[in-house]
């Protein structure tokens, strides 16, 4: 992957870049998680007004719990794509992807007022993954990158749906999937090598 077209005057993907980017991703995830909790209170309002069934509200509210994790993991995977495929993605584009992930919950709320939760969830998931996949294709022009991001998103949303329906067992499944996530992250840091001050994924 090193011999791909773009070259830089000075190393871009340094350890310093990784640190700054991580902090940025965490901050933007936190802000958007606050927005999502706003969506939660909107949902509560709709439930009180009677347009949203209380069972549906519980499911929507449960899924909003996982908002921060979904945002962080998705944006981190975008960083991974950036390093692996050597395509610059700027802060604005990260922000837009984050907004799409956050909009998922608003769409979910709106859709579940009209139909069964499971159908609403599926339609909104397909919409969001389609949007982000197309965006990543436009950014990287690389089908492998699109495949990677779509797979990660699909796994996340699948897991989230499972956790929402699990009830008291959600903690176990959640902890085990976090364990796997840390193992995967460790695997990628092993692949991450520093060559001439530049991070390279091998």
């Amino acid at each position: 992957m090193e011999n791909m077209n773009e070259t830089y005057d000075e190393p871009k993907y340094t350890m310093r870049w990784l640190g700054i980017q991580t902090v940025f991703v965490l901050v933007i995830s936190l802000i958007l998680a606050l927005v999502a909790s706003g969506i939660d209170s909107v949902a509560l309002g709709r439930q009180v007004a009677g347009t949203l069934h209380s069972k549906q509200y519980e499911l929507v509210s449960n899924s909003i719990t996982y908002c921060f994790a979904v945002l962080t993991i998705s944006l981190m995977s975008l960083m991974l794509i950036e390093v692996a495929f050597r395509k610059g993605i700027n802060f604005l584009q990260y922000g837009l992807v984050g907004c799409a992930l956050c909009l998922f919950f608003l769409l979910l709320l709106a859709m579940s007022e009209k139909m069964a939760f499971i159908w609403a969830y599926m339609i909104v998931t397909v919409m969001t993954i389609g949007l982000i996949g197309t965006f990543v294709k436009g950014l990287t022009k690389n089908m492998k990158a699109v495949g990677l991001s779509v797979t990660i998103l699909a796994v996340e949303y699948g897991l989230m749906l499972m956790l929402v329906y699990m009830g008291s067992m959600a903690l176990l499944i959640g902890s085990l999937s976090l364990f796997i996530l840390i193992a995967v992250a460790m695997y990628f840091t092993l692949k991450l090598k520093v060559e001439n001050e530049e991070l390279v994924l091998k």
């Binding site: 350890m15 067992m169 903690l171 176990l172 364990f179 840091t189 001050e197």
Partner: protein, 410 residues
């Protein structure tokens, strides 16, 4: 972090900045620990409320007042002749001369999903005697009252008094029996036994001039409670027994909820307390792990980026989340074993792959295993945990000093 040790052979890079940054990493990690602690707390609240709900369907706390005889039948102003007894603070009850009560408690668990409640069945045997000539002046027929919620009694109990056997009659929240005492002179012995079911606590109010109350059985976390402390108590694990001896005047005033002695038990499960207690040691485990990895890094002269430290720290925090979720399904010891083996395997494997040295990965794994084992021992011993803990810290410090000597000599 990309140190230039390869270019300056022989000189050592400064680790001061790195140690400072590692300290900074500990801040978000401890926020993570706090999050898991809050999660534990909220799971405990949910679990306790569900346990209370399950237990209340079985029976709630049991309060029993020993048998008393009504003295002033004429003063009754209630609609029922026995109604005055309901207000137990009114005077006019006479207790027996001697009163012995033996209660054996047997506990069982009720489950609903992952939630669990401990309830008990208790066999209560009461015996004693009224002093000679104390019953006859009260009239031909006296009322003997036993204050216990009839709802918690498993099968109808009978009363043997003198040479007569009578059935208790339930009324509101007590049992009573009318006894013809015209021909009872001398000591009047009585005895009764019954089974009660309940949860949370078993309290008995002795009513005799000389009373002995014995409660024994097995339960989780029994604690002896009440007006006075037991004169004799034994407690080993779940098995307990306690004996109270009380003296009081024959004619007494009952204030509504005092004078009871007994044992209270834990209705919910204590696994959440164990998880939150184990989290007290999280900071020291993270710090000691970081220090051991830093030693390895310095000795091997193989720079390990801070990102890797962060992931190791995250794995150490995830241990508590895993422990919490496993302990809801299996006993605490097994949950601890599985969670610690998973965490140790992950971190040891990671160090092995980072440094490409199997023995170093193994030794970090061994250090972690010792730490988790010591943490488990500290959780199991209730007394002297502070002493053991400070001694362990002393030895950890000694080991670190020894390690730093190695670094200087390199």
């Amino acid at each position: 972090m990309t140190s230039d040790i390869h270019t300056y052979s022989g000189s050592r890079p400064s680790y001061g900045k790195k140690v400072f940054l590692m300290g900074l990493i500990c801040v978000p990690l401890m926020i993570g620990v706090l999050a898991v602690w809050i999660l534990t707390f909220s799971r405990e609240l949910t679990s306790n409320s569900v346990a209370d709900e399950i237990a209340h369907k079985w029976g709630s706390m049991v309060y029993i007042t020993g048998p008393v005889v009504r003295v002033d039948m004429d003063d009754s102003d209630g609609e029922s002749p026995y109604d005055q007894g309901y207000h137990t603070d009114s005077p006019g009850w006479m207790g027996p001369q001697t009163f012995d009560c033996e209660a054996t408690v047997e506990t069982s668990s009720l489950h609903r999903g992952i939630y669990e409640a401990e309830v008990f069945t208790s066999h209560v045997r009461m015996s004693g005697a009224f002093s000679p000539g104390s019953l006859q002046p009260l009239g031909d027929t006296v009322m003997v009252k036993l204050d216990v919620d009839p709802g918690c009694i498993e099968q109808p109990a009978s009363l043997t008094i003198g040479d007569r056997q009578l059935e208790w009659t339930s009324f509101k929240d007590y049992l009573f029996a009318k006894v013809n005492v015209a021909d009872m002179s001398g000591r009047v012995e009585f005895s009764t036994e019954f089974n009660v079911r309940g949860s949370g606590a078993l309290f008995i109010r002795p009513t005799g001039e000389q009373s002995t109350v014995t409660i024994s059985g097995d339960a989780s976390n029994p604690s002896f409670d009440g007006k006075t402390l037991p004169v004799d108590r034994q407690l080993s694990g779940r098995v307990f027994s306690a004996r109270w001896e009380e003296k009081m005047p024959a004619r007494m005033k009952f204030s509504s909820r005092s004078g009871y002695v007994g044992t209270s038990f834990l209705v919910g499960v204590d696994r959440y307390q164990k998880v939150s207690r184990s989290m007290k040691y999280s900071f020291i485990i993270i710090v000691l792990t970081f220090i051991s990895v830093l030693f390895v890094e310095i000795v091997k002269r193989h720079p390990i980026p801070l990102l890797n430290y962060f992931l190791i720290g995250a794995a150490l925090i995830l241990f508590y989340s895993l422990l919490l979720s496993f302990t809801e399904l299996v006993p605490f010891g097994w949950a601890y074993l599985v969670a610690s083996v998973m965490t140790i395997a992950l971190i040891a494997g990671y160090i092995w792959k980072i440094l490409g040295s199997r023995s170093l990965g193994m030794s970090i794994g061994a250090v972690l295993a010792v730490m988790y084992l010591l943490c488990f021992i500290m959780l199991s011993i209730s007394d002297g945990a502070l002493l053991v803990g400070s001694l362990l810290l002393f030895f950890a410090l000694a080991a670190m000093m020894y390690g730093s000597l190695k670094i200087n000599s390199n």
